[in-house]
């Protein structure tokens, strides 16, 4: 089959490209292009109803689904694995990031491979966290009460350098189980470290009975049984 580029029969194909695509300049030095999409729509409408951007009827949902499938497909490819490395388990998850006074749960996909544990953000194509399995020296499953009344489970890891990492996954116990299996298979040893969970818990919990919180500027402090 030979491709065609006859200026009449493929005008719409050209317009699709020339009006919606091309190199994007993120700069203040570009003049406002507010009128441009309008030009595109008008021009297309004029082309004997060859298409309307919003009307694809029966296939709409399906089209979105297949395109989602495709982009998911691409993303999975986008994470670079080492040669011979295989993914053992993959699930949505997050990890507790803290740097100075900034703390946040960072969301992404957790990949457990036969040599690493990785948290990857597919849209940003960024590795948020990774560690070789060999560097995991301890782990524990911590249970934390949530304000919703449901308990949530986090996986705390103690790394070789003494860092503590807290992960949460869609199915955290399953992740822990798979990780334990992985470490065992590699002949690695680790410790169950129950007191990991106590570390830096204050900011995440509600005050208990007889406690109250006072605020002074941005600092919150808890006082035990303080009476007014």
């Amino acid at each position: 089959m030979e491709p065609t580029r006859n200026s009449h029969a493929t005008l719409v194909d050209l317009l699709d490209r020339i009006l919606d695509k091309g190199l994007v300049i993120y700069a203040d030095l570009i003049i406002s292009l507010a009128g441009v999409p309008l030009i595109g729509v008008n021009l297309r409408a004029a082309l004997a109803g060859m298409e309307t951007m919003l009307n694809y009827g029966l296939m709409k949902e399906w089209d979105e689904r297949t395109r989602a499938w495709e982009s998911e497909h691409r993303r999975e490819k986008a994470m670079v694995l080492l040669s011979g490395e295989e993914i053992v388990l993959e699930m949505l998850g997050s990890y507790y990031y803290s740097e100075g006074i900034y703390t946040a749960w960072r969301m992404g996909r957790i990949y457990l491979t036969d040599s690493r544990l990785i948290l990857y953000h597919p849209s940003f194509e960024q590795v948020l966290f990774e560690t070789p399995l060999a560097k995991i020296k301890g782990m524990t499953l911590e249970r934390q009460a949530r304000s919703t009344g449901k308990d949530t489970e986090n996986l705390c890891l103690l790394l070789e350098a003494g860092d503590i990492v807290r992960l949460h996954a869609l199915d955290t116990p399953r992740l822990e189980e798979a990780l334990e299996q992985g470490l065992t298979m590699l002949g690695l040893t680790w410790q169950e470290v129950p007191n990991l969970a106590l570390h830096d818990e204050r900011s995440a919990s509600f005050p208990g009975d007889g406690k109250e919180v006072t605020c002074r500027g941005l600092l919150c402090e808890e006082y035990q049984g303080r009476e007014r």
């Binding site: 020339i18 003049i31 021009l43 004029a46 694809y56």
Partner: protein
């Protein structure tokens, strides 16, 4: 049919403070300063602004977007834009095309020419990276259509569930038959979507092998009762589309399916994004 750009050179405003701009056609893989003649939109002279081994293909214009209610004029502008990009593409082999009506303004000292140079300098790494990615390559459009009536008919013959329901309808009284028909239509719709899904995945994996990169575009409304089930932009070495063409031939020969194969286009779909 030819679209001839008969529009006049945009008249300059009389005021001295009129801000100047540079209309950008594309970034080319050459560090040359060249005049390409009066081939630009509205007959403007097109030339290049070089930085190191790349250059911007531009013309001088007021810092206002080209706008018109007259579709013929806009059509002529768009075709002219494309012709300039094509000219640069033929000349230097690799270009990063910009979309229609991208104009760099000239507020800073030294005006918009300076701004273009500064921008090329700032973005140099990203631009050369993109040039490497599309070097010597072209974009080909692949659209796969099918005839939904034919597919539905085939499904009625092959799916036992549908055939059963179809036969049951004949035995039902009118009112009930109507409801049954609704059920049948839903069932067929679902089956068609499943089938479209399968075809998409099958064709996608077959086409993917013959392209360096692929973008999946939204499907569009088609004519003559056909339905577009797949709309792709494929990045392929310019002129080396034989294998892709053969694969498309196979799909095109499958009963009920047809393929549109367009190009070569400058790689519009592969230069966007950060």
């Amino acid at each position: 049919m030819q679209y001839v750009d008969k529009t006049e050179v945009t008249p300059r405003a009389e005021t001295a403070v009129e801000e100047e701009g540079r209309y950008l056609y594309c970034i080319a893989d050459a560090g040359e300063s060249v005049r390409l003649g009066e081939i630009g939109i509205a007959g403007n002279e097109v030339y290049t602004i070089p930085y190191k081994n790349i250059c911007a293909v531009v013309h001088n214009c007021p810092a206002q977007p080209y706008q018109s209610d007259d579709q013929e004029i806009v059509k002529a502008w768009v075709m002219t834009h494309q012709k300039v990009v094509d000219t640069a593409w033929d000349m230097w082999g690799t270009v990063l095309p910009l979309s229609f009506d991208t104009i760099i303004r000239g507020e800073s000292e030294g005006g918009s020419e300076r701004n273009v140079q500064d921008w090329l300098e700032q973005e140099y790494q990203g631009l050369t990276g993109k040039i490497e990615k599309v070097r010597g390559k072209a974009e080909y459009g692949v659209q796969v259509f099918w005839d939904p009536k034919l597919v539905a008919q085939n499904l009625t013959e092959t799916s036992p569930e549908i055939r059963e329901l179809d036969e049951e309808i004949r035995t039902k009284p009118k009112g009930l038959a109507y409801m049954y028909r609704q059920r049948l239509e839903n069932l067929i719709k679902r089956e068609i979507e499943t089938k479209a899904d399968e075809c998409f995945k099958d064709f996608y994996s077959r086409i993917r092998k013959h392209a360096d990169d692929i973008r999946v575009e939204k499907t569009k409304k088609a004519e003559q009762g056909l339905q577009m089930i797949m709309n792709l932009s494929c990045l392929v070495h310019r002129g080396k589309y034989t294998e892709l063409g053969e694969e498309l031939d196979k799909i095109n020969r499958t009963e009920g399916f047809s393929v549109r194969f367009t190009g070569p286009w400058p790689p519009y779909s592969f230069v966007g994004g950060a």
